[in-house]
Symmetry: C2
Subunit: 199 residues, 2 copies
C-alpha cells in the first residue's frame, strides 16, 4: 500500500529537518493531518514562506534580521566598543538571553574547517576587519564554540588581529569540550563571558 501523495510529500519535508528520522516525520505529518486545524496549518505554511522571504543578513553584523541595520546594530544604547564574534545567528540569541553582554555582535556564518574546505575567505572575517577599521571598537570577544574548529578559528583571528591595537579576548572555558554555544545553559555562558582571557 502506498501513502496518498500529499502524505508522502509532507513526510519528506519533515524528514529534511535536522534530527528528524522517517518515523518521527510520519508522526509529525499525521499530527498535522489529524490533529492540527486548518488555520494552524495555514499559519505554519505562511511562517515558512515569510521566514525565507522577509529575513536576510544585517549588512553590518550578518545577524539574521527583517530590517537593515538589525535591531542590535541600530540600538543606540549598546556599547559600540565591544564586538562579540560568534559562529551563527542562533548564538547571538543564546548570548542575548543571558542579558549581561551589552556590546554588539559579528556573525561569521561558520568556523574554519579545512577538512570541509572552509577557509578564511568563506566566513565573515574580511567584513570583521573592515568594521575594526571603521568603528570605535576596543575589544573583540571571541565567543566561538569549544570545538576543534572553534579553537582553530579563535587562534587564527587572534593572530590576524594582533597588530590592530584592539584587545582580543576569548570567552572562558566554562564550556565543556565539544559543546556548541547554542546548547550551553545560561549560567555556563555567563561564567564563560566573565572569565574571558587575553590571547
Amino acid at each position: 500500500m502506498q501513502y496518498p501523495k500529499p502524505i508522502t510529500k509532507l513526510i519528506e519535508s519533515f524528514s529534511k529537518l535536522p534530527g528528524v528520522g522517517h518515523k518521527t516525520a510520519e508522526r509529525l505529518a499525521f499530527y498535522v493531518i489529524s490533529d492540527m486545524n486548518d488555520d494552524e496549518a495555514t499559519k505554519f505554511a505562511r511562517a515558512l514562506i515569510d521566514a525565507k522571504r522577509a529575513l536576510f543578513e544585517c549588512e553590518t553584523c550578518a545577524f539574521v534580521t527583517d530590517s537593515n541595520p538589525c535591531s542590535i546594530c541600530a540600538d543606540g544604547g549598546r556599547d559600540v566598543t565591544m564586538i562579540a564574534v560568534v559562529e551563527s545567528s542562533k548564538d547571538v540569541l543564546s548570548l542575548e538571553k543571558m542579558r549581561s553582554f551589552h556590546g554588539r555582535y559579528h556573525v561569521l556564518g561558520g568556523v574554519l574547517s579545512p577538512l570541509d574546505g572552509i577557509g578564511p575567505e568563506d566566513i565573515g572575517i574580511a567584513p570583521l576587519i573592515e568594521r575594526l577599521k571603521n568603528e570605535e571598537v576596543t575589544e573583540v570577544i571571541l565567543a566561538l564554540g569549544a570545538t576543534l574548529e572553534g579553537d582553530a578559528t579563535s587562534q587564527y583571528l587572534a593572530r590576524l588581529l594582533k597588530g590592530t591595537g584592539v584587545r582580543i579576548t576569548r570567552i572562558a572555558r566554562g564550556l565543556e569540550m565539544g559543546r556548541s554555544i547554542d546548547y550551553a545553559d545560561e549560567v555556563t555562558l555567563i561564567r564563560a563571558l566573565e572569565g574571558r582571557v587575553e590571547l
Copy 2:
C-alpha cells in the same frame, strides 16, 4: 532583544508539533532560515497546505485518503471477509508495512476513555456495525493498542458484536503493556496478529 517577527512565528509553529519544545523549535526554525533553500521551504509550505486540503476520511473505513473510497477499500484483491479495527490511520500504515494482513480496515478515530469524556458515540463504532450488516465480513480483528483504553474498547466491542455471528478476535499480546501500535516493531506486530485469540 526581540526576535524579528518572522522568526518568532516560525518558532511558534514548530512548538505546536508533538514532542517539540521551545529549544528544538528554535533549532528547526534556524535550520529553515539558514540551511534550507527557498525551493525546499516552499515545498514544505505547499505540503502542509495540500495535506489539509487534499486529504479526508474514506467514507467506508475512515482511513485518511485523497480518493473515495480509499486505495485499500477500492482494492479488489483484498479479503473482504476480514476487518481489522484500529485506533488511527497511522496504525493502518504500521500494519500495512508488515505485508501479512490482506483484509480491510476500520479506523475508529480514537478509543473509549471515560476520563476524557470519549464514549462509544464519539468514535467510529456505529459505522462499523453498519459495515457488518452490509458487507460479507466473517471476522473482526481488534487491533487496538495494549493500553487500558485500548483493552476497554476491545472488551466493549467484543460484547457489542457477540450476537452478530461474526468471529471477534483480538491481536495477541505480542505488544508490551503501554505500547501503542504505532511504535511496535514489525515482528512484534506479525506475532501479535498470528496469535490472535477468540473473545
